[in-house]
Every structure is written in C-alpha cells, then in structure tokens.
C-alpha cells in the first residue's frame, strides 16, 4: 500500500487541512516513509487475538441521567473567536 498525490489530496480534504500544491509530493513521501516502516506489523501472528482498545480492563461507569451542570453560557462562549448575544458566530453553513 503506497500513498500517491491523489491520496494525499483526499486525506487532507477529509482532515480539513489545506495543503499547497507544491507540498503534496513531499507529504506523500513522508507518509510513505512512515507507512513502509509500519508494514513490519504484518510479520506478527495475530490470529485469534482480540483487538485491544483500552489500556485497562474496566467496564465504563454509568451514572444517573440527570443534569449536574449548566447555566454557564458566558463561560461557554468566553473563548469564541466570534460571538454575539450569547451565540457563536460562524460562517454560513446551511444554504
């Protein structure tokens, strides 16, 4: 599996990171370097092994479905790049 320029354009789009045309080939090269190194994992026998998603074997705790926090509108928008009348101001997202 090898990353070409089109793949770099696709994943930069998926990740919402603009990339300059002049940098696409260099990024493809760097990603291939890392991915080729990772290919080493194909040597490992993983037949019948359960994938490990968590570092500790605990079941996730549950709690009662009740409101424990809130009425902090001013705090929530405090760090907004743009806010107005208690709302976040964002570029138009619905046509």
């Amino acid at each position: 599996m090898s990353v070409d320029d089109a793949t770099v354009r696709k994943i930069t789009k998926l990740a919402r990171i603009e990339i300059q045309d002049s940098k696409v080939a260099k990024m493809a090269n760097e990603l291939n370097g890392i991915l080729n190194w990772i290919e080493m994992l194909n040597e490992v026998d993983v037949d019948g092994v359960e994938p490990m998603a968590s570092a500790v074997a605990i079941s996730l705790p549950t709690r009662d479905d009740e409101i424990t926090d809130g009425y902090i509108q001013a705090s929530v928008i405090k760090n907004a790049p743009k806010a107005d009348s208690g709302f976040f101001v964002v570029p138009k997202s619905v046509e």
């Binding site: 993983v46 968590s54 405090k78």
Partner: protein, 488 residues
Amino acid sequence: MTNLTELNLNQALSGLKAGNFTSTELTQSYLKSIEAQNTSLNAYLVVTADKALEMAKASDARRASGNVGALEGIPLGIKDLFCTKGVRTTAASKILGDFAPEYESTVTSQLWRDGAVMLGKLNLDEFAMGSSNETSAFGSVVNPWKRKSSKVPLTPGGSSGGSAAAVAAHMCLGATATDTGGSIRQPAAFTGTVGIKPTYGRCSRYGIVAFASSLDQAGPIARNVTDSAILLQSMMGHDPKDSTSLNVAVPDLVAAMAKGVKGMRIGIPKEYRVDGMPAEIEKLWQQGIAWLKDAGAEIVDISLPHTKYALPAYYIVAPAEASSNLARYDGMRFGARVEGVDLTDTYEKTRAQGFGEEVKRRILIGTYVLSAGYYDAYYLRAQKVRARILEDFTNAWGKCDAILTPTAPSAAFGLGEKSDDPIKMYLNDVFTVTANLAGLPAISIPAALDVDGLPLGLQIIGKAMDEETIYSVAAVMEQAANFSTRPA
C-alpha cells in the same frame, strides 16, 4: 541564608514547617531563578508571577492558622497541556490562540488543594507530539546540561522538555508532565531528573489537552525519588469526570520506598538492546543489575518478544486517536480562526495555519489508517499487536515482580540533529512506549553520566497498579547510584 532553590521539595517542606522561611520567600527565590535563566532555556511559556505570590501569601496564611496541606507552599511548574483557569493554555500550538480555560484540570486542582503554588506554564512539543521539544510553536527548550567537549545546545527531550529542564535548572521544585509514548521518562533521562508515568487511569485526564486518549497519562518530574513520590500521591485519585479514572485507593509511595528489594525478582528483557546503542548504556544497565543484586534482589532473564513491534503499533494507534481528538480545533468555538471564503475553506485555512508540520503529519497518518478500506489492515491490526504486547508483560509477571531497562537508547542529542527524519526521532521512545501500550507504570531515574558528562537514565516498569514496588526498587537504585551532579 543559603539560596532557597538549593533545597529539594522534601527539604523545603521541612524548612517551611520549621518556620525557617515562608512560601512567599521560597516563591520569590524561584521567580528570580526563572528570571535569570528562562531567556536562555525557554522552559516557561508564561510566568504567572503575580498569581504565584498571591498563592504563596495565601499558603503562608493557611500555615499560620494550622491548616497545612501535603504540598503546602511548594512552588511548581505546570506543563502547558494542563488547563489552568484564567491562565492562557496553548499546548504549544498556535491553533489555541489566546485560549484561557474557564476550568481547571483535576490534576492541577489537586495540587492547589494540597497547598502548592503555580509559577507558570511550561513549554512542550506541540500537542505533546515530539521527543525533542522542537515541534513547539514557541521555540525549542534548551537542556541546561551541556557536553563537556562542546557548547552545542542540546534537547531536553520531549514532549515534557520544559518540565524536565525547569526541574533540572532549579526553576521550580517539581513539575507536572504527561506521557503518551515516553514524554515524561525520556526527558527525565536527558536531564538527570526523576520522571514517572503511573498506571493508566491513576491520574485523571480531565482538563488535560487530549493527544491519544487510550495512552495519555499524567505524572510528575522531580529532583529525586522522594519528591516524585510526594508529588504523585497528590496527583493521583479517582475522578468521576474521567470515565477511565480508576476508582481505587491512593497508595503510600513514600512508605513503599523503605521496603527494600530483598527477595524481589527483577526481570531483564533480552529484547531491550537495539542496534547502535552506545556501549555505555549497556554498561549502565549491567551496573543497575549489580546494584539490585547487591541489595538482595534476584535477577531473572525474561523475554518480551513483541517489543520491536511496539513503536510501529504506537504510530498507528496514537495518530488515529489524535486525528479524532484534534478534530475539535476548527476555529468555531475557541482558539484561533482564519477566515476563508466559506465554512469549509475557513476550517481548512484555520487548521493549515494553526497546526505545525509534525501535528499535521500525525493527523494525516491517523486519517489515512482510519479511512475506508484501510481500517482493518492498519488500525485493527495495530490493536491486535497491542494485545500481544500486553500479553508479553502478563507472561513476564509469572517470573518477575518488576522489570529493569535503560530509559532511552542515547543521551541528550543536539537540537536539530534528528529533526529532518521522523522515524529516527520516533526511535527515541523504543524502550518507553511499551509501558504506554500496556498501560503499565514506569519510572526513569538518573543513574550515571556518559563520557561527555551527560546524564543517563534507567527505567523500572511495574505491574499495573503496583507503583509501590516501583518506588521500592527506585529508592534502592537511587541510593546506589548516588547521582548528585548538577548541570554546569
């Protein structure tokens, strides 16, 4: 009076208790030390002098009224990955802009609960992604240690390079740090300090800027093993705000230090030798083995056969989790925004200009390995290899109680020496990353100097939840090593 910054944390606590000096005087000494050294070392991104003096004054008042916490009056540095209420928190990234959190991380709130004083926020690799501090958007930290033979500026390691440098240069009495693949232990090894990553779940992740959630764990960097134990005890504990926080009692680590290692079985994994590792590190490892044998431990050869697959597995799991975690930086609700022609363009420009090169590389790797058609081949396979690595350790615990290894495959290297080759940089974490994947506690302690006069560290890995054994072993090793050299 001698310079108060010469006292370590434990001595400072005694001095404060005896009334030899106040927290205000101690804090002023540290602010002076920072002022004198920070321009050259770049360890602190923000110095909160006014807040520090205010907190010190409040601590002195508490002490006068007999209300004394476990860290009463102790000035600390905080890695700038911990949210601190009202104080700018950057994760060493431009994308957070002037973000000043409206809340406090659980770990730091516990330090303040116990009476500690905040000196400021410490530099790191951007979003803790790096092993040399060179990915910080605010310039590299410089290691206070220099080679005997040259004045070349060296890396303090990463990502907790600011924490390690500040502790080594006596710009604080101790510091918070975080470790996703070795980010506490490798900088500790490079700066002659003590760094521990506890068992995953011991320290709450609430309010710590997330990198790779199944691997991230907080811990202290300190001048010695006792100081490390005191700090970690304050940082640990159950927190309902972190669903992976362990609901278990906090052990008495200082008491564990007195237990000794008589009859303890110490495992030596044959796979922890890598090509090009300096002979000095092998020699140091043998020295560590001899120290423990002399103290009555039994040395056992063990095998951790999947060790060499740990780093490649990590470089799938960590970027995959990072690409998800860092999706929140979109310039809408907090942080910096770069306006584009429409919403998508705004997202893409904000993220292109806000993230540095290494962070982008990791987000793109993560996006790729999680994308349709590649998930099974990369991400699922890496999670299975991770299970194999944990299994290696589980098998080893049948034969031993703790494991001794070198912390890093080299001493501190020069800034710029490895920054053009990502994989070469990643290999720094070859001995530390296994503990993150398996969720195990591990400490690095300074053990000797190399021919250039630079510190080298040894690592002790313990069973899950068994920090006490780690501190028993670390105390014995610290006494035998008698490491007292300071950066020139």
